[in-house]
Amino acid sequence: MAKKLMKGSEAIGEAAVQAGCRLFFGYPITPQNEIPEYMSLRLPQVGGCFVQAESEVAASNMLYGAAGTGERVMTSSSSPGISLMSEAASYLAGAELPVVIVNIVRAGPGLGGILPSQGDYFQATRGMGHGDFRLLVLAPWSVQEAADLVQDAFDLADFYRNPVMVLGDGLIGQMMEPVEFSSDRQPIKELQPKTWAATGCPGDRPTNIINSLFLDPEELERHNWKLKAKYDAMTRDEIRSASYAADDDYDVLIVAYGTVARVCSTAIDELRERGVRVAMVRPITLFPYPYQAIRDAALRASSVLVVELSTGQMIEDVRLALEGARPIHFHSRVGGMLVTPDEVIEKVECILAGGAAEVSHG
Amino acid sequence: MPRIVITPDRCKGCELCVDACPQQILGMGRKINSKGYFYAEVVEQMRCIGCRLCCITCPDTAIEMRVNGTMYHYFSY
């Protein structure tokens, strides 16, 4: 199909429809409103169903119910709404239900602001609910990639029977860029029929029960390790990252994801023109995190600069990747303020001039 | 002649059937089932009128109603 100029939120909605999602449960919250708005118009056109729930808590539990019938389902929200969905995320992971959750991150904490942020990194990769579980988290840096990752998310969710989160930010949601949907996209994973779905129990087959309750501790222990095996498999097979200007040698390696990585790519282009040797590695999966890719790239540089729209969250994973092998510098804007290319350029030059203080491990 | 059959191991000794029987022919036995409950027993099988109130009020479907010959239904259930 031809390229079409679309707003990020709408591209995300259309991507879900392209992936066969016919059920969307949402709730209004800026800056992701265009996703439910789009779905409320589009889903009836394809025989689907849009429900505006009374709260994100209810929306995420409708998601649970619908996923339990084996249908492809999606919800979207923004930071405060995502917090309300964390209980359901834990139940979804516990009951091994495939769903796609889109988080268009806004500044926090609390009511915070409505402008872009990356302050939900910990929540997405570690703290999305009680108990031992993880979400597979995908972080697009463009509207096209957002559309692609949403479609991949459905395949990954079905394959691993686990919630998958697409983590955008206000920019991705509101930006308009050309988007292309391929008419013959093939699933990226080998998908099995959902014989586990609870769709009425014909004949005398044992009943299918969608459940995360295991009162017997031995049973729950087996269940926990079964879920862990999934996360290990994700770590083994699903890590995605991209590098930028890393073919040539470089002294400073920037690590950034999402739209911040695009800002950094502009800065890198300008720096390269001035002969400054800088490159970037961009994690696309935030869980599983590309530790090895970042370590390998960092060892080719003299120091690392982490750029993110938070007071320092992904930087901890970069520390884990490096384990002290290289000094780590940090640049960030928060509260909805955006990092600009000039700021990144200034920071890189400062690092190379030896003036920048390394980030302490405090 | 209606006859009720109590499955001892399903009974939890709650006595709701004893209270519900209009013929007062049910009572708690002295024998204990596998869970350690005294289970209900029919005291006078002959006076059972087949009304099924015991079956209806039993929370654990421990009571079944058997009948041979005609059966009068007192109410639709």
Binding site: L23, F25, C49, V51, A53, E54, S55, V57, A58, A59, N61, M62, Y64, G65, A66, G68, T69, E71, V73, A88, Y91, A95, A198, T199, G200, C201, G203, T207, N208, I209, I210, N211, L213 | R3, R10, K12, C14, E15, L16, V18, A20, K35, Y37, G50, R52, L53, C55, I56, T57, C58, P59, D60, T61, E64, M65, R66, V67, N68, M71, Y77
Partner: protein
């Protein structure tokens, strides 16, 4: 050869439940299973068991089930019914689940007119967690979080869900029944039958509130618990059909208006 005229319905699993002796959950389970058998819908019914004593209901029915988080069963039911309108969907919720943490979910599920059936078991207490005060606990009734009896000055008065839902404009079937005597249990089955019939016909949302006992946490033997229900809960929670899809005025319970 003797003919069995009363036995476990097919939709009820041949297992012994974990419910306490005399707990009327067991009766309500059987009534639902009998209605499912009568309507011939076992193979396309999906139940939802949220947190509460009856979360283990998924072991007691021979139908597919989804376990839901506390209070969210009506939302889960919405998701299932919207995904598969051909399925018969029912939730089985306690008073803590529906009237407390899940109040928003039940009100909006009813108000959206989701064509599901909600079985709301009102035993005026939190059972599973050991007898705490519920939104439906009676004034003066002792519970572990109101050891001197529910003080309406502090905790307000019990909530009447059937009346509350019947004020919604969206057509629905809302009734209250009880199972503390066989007569009332028969009436409760009729209410459940109607509720499920409305869903089978795709007419409207349906909810049956069933007054129920909790001998263990009330601290009263089962037979006395039934009396306590009659004396204390019935006056405050009148039985009857509170709302019908055709919007007729409230009709009192047939033949049980003593």
């Amino acid at each position: 050869m003797a003919e069995t005229v009363f036995s476990r319905p097919g939709a009820l699993a041949p297992v012994i439940t974990h419910y306490c002796p005399g707990c009327t959950h067991g009766i309500i389970h059987r009534l639902i299973a009998e209605v499912i058998d009568e309507l011939g819908i076992r193979e396309r019914t999906v139940g939802i068991a949220p947190v509460g004593c009856a979360v283990l209901a998924y072991n007691y029915f021979t139908v597919d089930f989804q376990e839901a988080s506390h209070g969210r069963a009506p939302a889960v039911a919405t998701g299932i019914k919207r995904a598969r309108p051909d399925l018969i969907v029912f939730t089985y919720q306690g008073d803590g689940d529906l009237a407390s943490i899940g109040m928003a979910e039940i009100v909006h599920c009813a108000n959206r007119g989701e064509k599901v059936t909600v079985v709301f078991v009102n035993n005026a207490i939190y059972g599973m967690t050991g007898g705490q005060m519920a939104p439906t606990t009676m004034p003066g009734q002792i519970a572990t979080t109101c050891p001197l009896g529910r003080d309406v000055e502090q905790a307000g008065h019990p909530i009447r869900i059937a009346e509350l839902l019947s004020t919604l404009r969206t057509p629905s079937f809302v009734a209250r029944a009880a199972v503390h005597t066989p007569l009332y249990a028969v009436n409760a089955k009729e209410m459940l039958r109607r509720a499920f019939r409305y869903q089978v016909a795709g007419t409207c949302f349906s909810m049956v509130e069933v007054l129920s006992t909790c001998p263990t946490n009330w601290g009263v033997p089962p037979v006395e618990a039934n009396r306590w229900l009659a004396q204390n809960m019935m006056p405050f929670y009148p039985l009857g059909v509170f709302k019908t899809p055709d919007g007729a005025d409230r009709a009192p319970t047939p033949g049980a208006g003593d």
